[in-house]
Symmetry: C2
């Protein structure tokens, strides 16, 4: 059993939202160039204004330039509702996937807008598609989901997150029997709020994909330590707060959450395509890490494998 993300090769065409993120387009251009130079099989669909796409093209050799195509779009969707409007970069990136011009998309724009555009354009297999982050646990990567796609803590949603998280850990981390934990405030089954207590009872009864086993409640520690679970399930409110708190703590303690240990981007699970969300404050290397994650998920056939996992619910 390997505990790290597997590096695969093979063609992968990734649509990149040039206008997404607080520091776009500069960091996205950086990220695209870093990703291209690291992965010779990668092809990018640059989604944004022609002037920004030209900046990427100008920095590349003629040979590398042939790996690029451009999809023109002129404005970013900075709020979820704007994702439904025509002409946004994230909407055009979704269209590129829908048309078959790209295998996956990456955006560091407003995550609500990316989720909305993906659900509208690609469809969804679950009511609340979760964002799955990967944290560098002491014993290996830990998948944490949801980290902010929705804030619904209801038991059916938590159970769906567990199913998708188990399938994701199987597909991406190559784990044969991932351990799935429910994030709570104590390890006993009766700890937590009423949603967690109900979800705990249901998770103990169902069969999870990837031969996963439900290990019961885990705590905030466990997303960093990684000793008790490979997948940590929670609602998008708690997961978002926890991820940001842990990230800042790593930085302040003098460490960092390096893309070498775990991708600095989250995967949207349970839609009809492969969608990667980078943080709004993403740096160039973070965006590159998101592009590489998108390519890996495509190469692993992760979206198709997650789609099949749905029948188990």
């Amino acid at each position: 059993v390997t505990r790290s993300t597997r590096q695969l090769t093979g063609p992968a065409r990734i649509a990149v939202d040039l206008l997404g993120g607080d520091h776009a387009p500069a960091v996205v251009v950086d990220g695209a160039l870093i990703a291209c130079s690291a992965d010779p099989d990668l092809r990018l669909v640059l989604v944004g204004p022609t002037s920004v796409a030209d900046e990427v093209l100008a920095a590349l050799s003629a040979a590398d330039r042939s790996r690029m195509s451009v999809a023109r779009a002129t404005r970013s969707a900075d709020r979820p509702l704007r994702a439904a409007r025509p002409g946004t970069t994230v909407g055009a990136a979704v269209d590129a996937v829908l048309r078959g011009d790209a295998d996956a998309l990456v955006s560091a724009g407003d995550s609500g807008a990316t989720v909305t555009a993906a659900v509208l354009g690609l469809g969804r297999a679950v009511r609340r598609p979760p964002l799955a982050a990967m944290l560098p646990g002491l014993d290996g990567p830990v998948v944490l989901l949801d980290v902010g796609a929705s804030v619904d803590p209801s038991p059916p949603v938590l159970v769906q997150h567990a199913v998708l998280g188990a399938a994701y850990a199987g597909a991406v981390l190559g784990l044969e029997h991932p351990r799935v934990g429910l994030l709570s405030i104590g390890t006993e089954a009766d700890k937590g709020d009423r949603w967690r207590r109900t979800a705990h009872g249901r998770l103990a009864l169902i069969k999870l994909p990837s031969g996963a086993q439900f290990v019961g409640n885990v705590e905030g520690y466990d997303v960093s330590r990684g000793a008790r679970a490979d997948v940590v399930v929670t609602d998008g409110f708690t997961g978002n707060v926890l991820l940001k708190g842990v990230e800042a703590a790593y930085v302040l303690a003098g460490g960092e959450m390096s893309a070498d240990t775990a991708p600095r981007a989250a995967a949207l699970l349970g839609t009809g395509g492969t969608v990667i969300v980078c943080h709004g404050e993403a740096t160039g290397p973070d965006v590159a890490s998101g592009i590489e994650l998108a390519a890996q998920l495509h190469r692993l056939g992760a979206t198709a494998r997650l789609g099949r996992s749905e029948v188990i619910i």
Copy 2:
């Protein structure tokens, strides 16, 4: 304006639960000895079996031994409901405060049991007394509450936490205009779940104690960075998960959350006494830090000042 906890002197009599915590009594004995040696004005009421109290007494000089008294109790309350039974150490510690034999109590036992014992014995000024932790933010300590006394995220409870947190920051950190933030998943007022959105509207309208100002939503980062708020308000589920995640991240990143920067213990606010909860996994220095926090709160008259803050709601 000072941004660190003020070190005061003067008599303080602290009841210490010798049986509380995963590694009791050893770490509690350690903590008691460390605290006594660091603070000559401290007096302790050792609450537990005679054999354990004798261990502390044997390690002290005759002069220091005169600073100790013993309240005998033979069993720990390892579950909240057991706190109501007679003969528990945490119940006996509450009794010591009630009788006026101690000014405050410290326990590293089950925090639910300590909260129950405190509410039953000392009374409460608010419906859900929160546990307030202090984290070592980059710019100074950050008060985070609730970190696990209850899991109720309803807007009236969040508003009460904000009031108590503001009063606590004023009394303990000496801040004249503490900045109070509501923990959410984005800085805009409409980010978060329905409870946060409602609480945000109410917090924008009320007058907080200590001249505090409501700065709106803050994010997971802000409990470590400290740049945006001195007090971070959330429900006990989210706060507990976040605190544990941040603690583990500090340790794994090679740093630590030192008692020099912020106490390694949480204060239960809104009851009729001064009550400090240490983590179940607390070490000796952590317990000592909790005892010192209890002494400081007593010396500052914090409980009385927080009691007065209630009228503002």
